[in-house]
Symmetry: C2
Subunit: 159 residues, 2 copies
């Protein structure tokens, strides 16, 4: 579980959904992104967003939250089956961070993660590099968020 | 202020610094990125990070917080001088999000923003597109964070 050899390009995980309430939007914005359209309904309506809109960093952070919860769930299940579970390596970065449509108060965003590419690392023997496209879709089926995440994953030791 | 014509490639703003205390790191991680090396000193030391490390989303969110504070400061100063202040448009996305080095408990990260490119929008007359490289540097002068942000900025109406 979580070894390089366990992944396949195209493998998709549904990560679950999150409702961006007005309260959650304002709490995050007050702390990290206090722009008017993230803090006040009326200001949101007057803005290009057309309503109280979540900070893009809030959307990305919620995606991370659901990714971690999904990994932890998978790890628990694998451990319960008696499988070995590898520790994922750090992420050197993400690319193509896109906020495609506004996330407005009340929107329910479903997140998913799909393996986009896999390659072995030349500089770090024993490790592979996985790219995953993580995405968010609203309750109307419209894409709202997308990012390509890169992570180091350990290779299985050959027996 | 904040019109397309007011920006110049290479213009750099120092955004201020933020101390990532263990408490701030754990509070953010508990909510959005509950991986062990973001929650516990000992687990952090045992990890590739070598210490309690801030979530990358925390670092990005703090950069956003300082960007907004800097914009608001500039806007207040411009208004006090009697200048017109434009409202920045939404951001269609960011690219090249890089977590270059871990941000560990106690690190003081200074952020800066530099205009990387400017072009007029073909699809939206009246708007320009600005790209800025936002970056974070630790107390030892080492780069820890970098992202290229894109934003729509209104053009001045010709008189």
């Amino acid at each position: 579980m979580f070894f390089f050899e366990d992944f396949a390009v195209g493998r998709r995980r549904e990560l679950g959904s999150f409702t961006f309430t007005a309260e959650a939007i304002k709490t995050f914005a007050a702390k990290f992104d206090p722009q008017r359209f993230h803090l006040d309904e009326e200001e949101g309506r007057k803005s290009l967003f057309g309503g109280l809109a979540a900070s893009g960093w809030h959307v990305g952070s919620v995606c991370m939250k659901l990714l971690v919860a999904d990994s932890q769930r998978q790890a628990r299940e694998a451990l319960a089956r008696g499988e070995e579970v590898a520790t994922l390596g750090p992420s050197p970065g993400f690319r193509e961070l896109r906020w495609i449509r506004p996330v407005l108060a009340g929107d329910i965003i479903s997140f998913a993660s799909e393996v986009a590419s896999l390659r072995t690392s030349e500089s770090r023997p024993g490790w592979g590099i996985l790219e995953a496209r993580n995405s968010g879709t609203n309750q109307r089926g419209e894409a709202v968020f997308s990012i390509v995440a890169t992570a180091f994953v350990p290779r299985r030791k050959s027996a």
